[in-house]
Amino acid sequence: MSEVKKIATRESYGNALVELGKKHDDLVVLDADLAGATKTGIFRKAFPERHIDCGIAEGNMMAVAAGLAAAGMVPFASSFAMFAAGRAYEQVRNSIGYPHLNVKIGATHAGISVGEDGASHQCLEDIALMRVIPGMTVIVPSDDIEARAAVEAAYAYKGPVYLRFGRLAVPVINDRPDYRFEIGKGITLREGKDLTIVATGLEVQPALEAARKLEADGVDAEVINIHTIKPLDEALILASANKTGRVVTVEEHSVIGGLGGAVCEALSAKAPVPVLRIGVNDVFGESGPAAELLHKYRLDGEGVYGQIRAWI
């Protein structure tokens, strides 16, 4: 694994914004005093006049973004997931979601892999908060390639989009010539017949690792990358669930209301099979190096494998 290229999806976000900024004059980037961390600083360097620092006032920033969108610009509003989806929730709901304005929310530092900053900054609820807003598209890219493609697709799409990025550098897993990103279309990374593992974001790689370990035990797992939580690719998930009869969801988010919730909602009506939801089990996080936390909360490859083994 040592030669595998690693890059944090927040870095991909900053780089993708620069590429889009070169092509589109109507793209504006907003930040709330975190340009260095969210990587919108990369855009600021290239296009200082189109980078607006709103200071530490995320609620105002989201509604300013709504005003820019109402006037025809395409704003990407950036902060940590905790503040973008958490603190500014009601601005996102009422000033962006309700009028269905063309605002893109670039939320970085999502999940427990924020690491040392601890529970106050480890947002484990944002997918749940965002996907319950009518008309909101929610995208959680798994690596650099997917993150850049997602930013581009979000720009091209007309309507509000929540993009969830991580702080931790993660391996590139989508470097294949046939890789294609489409909002709302899941990707089957591995075909199998015994079990379906549906994963999102930085948990796609541990899900693949778990599938390889399961194979050694004689369990043939299918692995689906759901980069778009909403709209959910129900057809793909239902077809796989009908084939394997068992589903595991894996996400760096609370087991309540995120990918696991979304998948269960889809399956309960149309293919009620047993589901194991792997994620953070309704607790707050804590400080520590990201890799150690992912291990402790059993969200690394070994932990995901162990939880699936114990279940089947």
Binding site: G55, G59, N60, G67, N94
Partner: protein, 280 residues
């Protein structure tokens, strides 16, 4: 437009407000009536390049009703200005109506932003003003805030932003009637002094002693038009419920509809006021 004409229109706007809220059996007549002269001045005198037949005209001046609960006031002035038929005002708050309890930009012609949750509209207005700066377009953005709304922290986040970004194409109007749902500003959680607060956030501040007087409104907006390099706040002292005597200066009429008897009384009073204006 002559003041007398504006007064006549404002009186019609007041009849529309009372009629719409009476028909809805709920809504916010007090603030709508108190701001009726501000609404009228904006839509018949101040806003440039607006066209009721082309409500989304790109170069139009924008108006954001940050105090979104005064939707009856906004709808009434839009109807008087010709954005939609006056007869539709009685559908306010009814199921299926395009006149929602709080403004919805996607439902109602002439509504530039969906509002209702206090504090957010002023931030949105900042975003629109910033868009004009970035794109080099010349339009101006106006927003109307409630005085009670100024208790929301977001108002001051927005004020800080507007001052810092020198948004001189933004005019914030505060409807200062000194009343909110639970009582007077002082009885609740006073945001006063508003003039000093906006000044400290780097606004040019204009205080209007009588925000129900067209001469004073005209003077204030003319002064605001000449200000460069900073946003302007016009703080208008108004009478909540203005024009319907039993609603005036009463927080009880903040969010309550008149019954049939009260409605008849209000309309009679406004009819007489209209007749008096026609005698002038």
């Amino acid at each position: 437009m002559e003041n007398l004409e504006l007064q006549k229109i404002a009186n019609e706007v007041r009849k529309d407000i009372v009629t719409a809220v009476h028909s809805a059996k709920s809504g916010h007549p007090g603030g709508s009536l108190g701001a009726a002269d501000i609404f009228t001045y904006l839509y018949f005198e101040e806003l440039k390049n607006i066209d009721p037949h082309d409500p989304k005209k790109p170069d139009r001046d924008r108006f954001v009703l940050s105090k979104g609960h005064c939707a009856p006031g906004l709808y009434s002035v839009l109807a008087e200005r010709g954005y939609f038929p006056k007869e539709d005002l009685v559908t306010l708050r009814h199921v299926g109506s395009y006149l929602q309890g709080h403004p919805n930009m996607n439902d109602t012609p002439g509504v530039d932003m969906s509002t209702g949750s206090l504090g957010q509209g002023v931030s949105v207005a900042c975003g629109m003003a910033l868009a004009a700066k970035l794109s080099g377009e010349g339009y101006h953005v106006y927003t109307l805030l409630g005085d009670g709304e100024c208790e929301e922290g977001e108002v001051w986040e927005a004020a800080m932003f507007a001052g810092d970004k020198k948004l001189d194409n933004l005019t914030v109007i505060v409807d200062y009637n000194n009343l909110q749902i639970d009582g007077t500003l002082e009885e609740v959680n006073s945001p006063l002094p508003l003039d000093q607060k906006f000044a400290s956030f780097r606004f040019h501040v204009i205080s209007v002693a009588d925000g129900n007087d067209f001469d004073q409104l005209r003077a204030a907006f003319r002064e605001a038009a000449g200000i460069k390099g900073m946003p302007t706040a016009i703080i208008c002292r108004t009478v909540k419920g203005k024009g319907v005597s039993y609603m005036e200066n009463s927080c009880g009429w903040h969010g309550k509809a008149p019954n049939d008897e009260e409605y008849a009384e209000a309309m009679e009073e406004l009819k007489k006021a209209g007749e008096a204006l026609c005698q002038k």
